[in-house]
């Protein structure tokens, strides 16, 4: 009997915590929207430089190989169907619409989101956030809103970098494995891939950036319990960011129809 009671209590605790987290995320998101008009511009530039510029090389490199992998996966089928003209479409369509934004989102959450949670969490447990509040500075103006805007903007910029890297990787691999000239690859891509395909990926990446920003800031500000607490917060943030990317992807795809 006590075993069943324990299970019910554990389920109840988890449900309550889930509801509290969802509510906390929603409140943080609304506060950020209200704070954006008065955010600290210097902090915005600093955050954008840190989140975007420093992530660009690793994102570009990863995307380059992803483009190559997509060509390698598609090549046997287009050869079998004797439809070599479809190789650029097969390699790029899913990359621009789906694989690129999701992969970059996951990398962004692992690199930038976790770093953001750790930094905010450390500021909370070492009372730096209290020190800001004591100076009559709203942490949302100085810390949260600039990071939110920087993450949304940099996620879109990094997706453009990643898309470019993936297309270059696909072109190089198609040239090496299928003998397709690069100008021909580009020409076929221009015929088969539409602006809407690129735009769809970029819109998704903007939403992913917002999701990662809200989740990573929420867990950072909710940190308690010293260094162990910071570790717990980073772990929760990475897991929740990954889940949010998939959920947002599903919702945006359903709404946009692709």
């Amino acid at each position: 009997m006590s075993g069943i009671r324990g299970i019910v209590a554990a389920v109840g605790r988890t449900a309550l915590q889930f509801a509290a987290d969802l509510g906390g995320l929603a409140i943080l998101f609304l506060r950020v929207l209200r704070t954006i008009p008065r955010l600290d511009i210097y902090e915005l530039i600093r955050a954008a430089e840190r989140f975007g510029w420093q992530s660009a090389p690793i994102i570009g490199l990863t995307a380059f190989f992803t483009g190559g992998i997509m060509v390698m996966q598609s090549l046997p089928y287009v050869e079998q169907l004797q439809a070599m003209r479809l190789l650029p479409w097969a390699a790029s369509f899913a990359t621009l619409r789906e694989v690129g934004p999701v992969l970059i989102g996951l990398m962004f959450s692992g690199r930038v989101g976790s770093n953001n949670t750790a930094e905010l969490g450390t500021m909370v447990v070492t009372e730096q956030v209290d020190a800001l509040r004591l100076l009559a500075i709203d942490p949302y103006d100085l810390l949260i809103a600039p990071r939110f805007v920087a993450m949304v903007a940099m996620m879109v910029c990094l997706t453009i970098v990643g898309d470019a890297g993936a297309v270059i990787g696909a072109m190089v691999t198609a040239r090496a494995m299928a003998g397709m000239e690069m100008f021909q690859f580009i020409q076929l891509m221009r015929e088969q891939i539409h602006l809407a395909d690129l735009a769809s990926g970029l819109v998704k990446s903007g939403f992913f950036g917002a999701g990662i920003a809200v989740v990573s800031c929420y867990y950072g500000l909710a940190t308690s319990g010293g260094a162990v607490g910071v570790g717990r917060a980073v772990n929760a943030s990475v897991v929740a960011s990954a889940v949010s990317i998939v959920v947002i992807d599903f919702a945006v795809t359903a709404v946009m129809g692709g």
């Binding site: 009372e127 730096q128 209290d130 020190a131 509040r133 004591l134 100076l135 009559a136």
Partner: protein, 248 residues
């Protein structure tokens, strides 16, 4: 004289549902008060400082600081009040990404009407020299020892000439000589503005009792004893026991 800090029946519930953190606490501090706040671990000393600073809102009671009602006052008044408070936090709370100079200059640069950059430079350099960190102005917090971080924190807490100066464990973890030097610095800063209030949380009894004229013992969220440092000998056995470290 009207008290600068006026707390009556202040109550703060524990988040985990345990015993109250502050339990019907009464405290009145008139302008010019320099007092030590002592008490066992988790007795509510640091929480009391944060409550006075407007960082924690009490659940019940009357909490008026510099004429601002912390329970019912407007947010704008509370922000105004916080600009007149300087606090050294238990963890020093120096901003990791800023140098010592930038940390000390931060409160001045964030004033609604900040002084000129040259005035900020002059004032900050003078205060940093005063706390003995002239050689470390361009260092970041992680490049400082514990004592140096405390001194940088004191410089930042006092640079904007606050009326209410709160120091949470300014001598914790320091050797006796550095601790005594830091307390001497705090009392000297208080002497320069005797209209203000200075509260020092510390359990380094010998140095504290020598530095402050009044001591308040907080125990289980209440004021257990409030009296002159010189009269500690006449305090009840339990209080004397805590101060001298001997069982009552």
């Amino acid at each position: 004289m009207e008290a600068l800090v006026d707390l009556a029946g202040v109550h703060l519930d524990a988040l985990d549902g345990g015993p109250a953190v502050l339990d019907a606490l009464d405290l009145a501090l008139a302008p010019g008060t320099l007092t030590g706040l002592i008490g066992p671990p988790s007795s509510g000393k640091s929480v009391l400082l944060k409550l006075i600073a407007g960082l924690i809102r009490p659940n019940r009671g009357r909490a008026i600081v510099a004429g601002v009602d912390l329970l019912a006052g407007r947010a704008a008044d509370k922000r105004q009040l916080q600009r007149s408070i300087g606090m050294l936090f238990q963890n020093n709370a120096l901003f990791d990404s800023l140098t010592v100079f930038e940390n000390v200059a931060f409160p001045l640069r964030r004033l609604p009407t900040p002084p000129t950059e040259s005035e900020i430079g002059t004032r900050c350099k003078a205060r940093i020299e005063e706390v003995g960190l002239g050689h470390a102005m361009d260092r970041f917090p992680h490049q400082l020892s514990g004592g140096m971080q405390k001194r940088a924190g004191i410089a930042r807490a006092t640079i904007a000439e606050p009326r209410l100066r709160l120091f949470d464990e300014p001598t914790a973890g320091l050797d006796p000589v550095t601790g005594a030097r830091i307390l001497a610095l705090i009392t000297e800063l208080h002497r320069r503005d005797e209209r203000g209030v200075t509260i020092i949380v510390s359990n380094e009894m010998d140095t504290l009792l020598a530095a402050v004229p009044r001591v308040i013992l907080i125990d289980r969220g209440k004021v257990a004893w409030d009296g002159a440092s010189a009269l500690v000998d006449q305090a009840p056995d339990t209080v004397r026991g805590f101060i001298t470290g001997e069982a009552a």
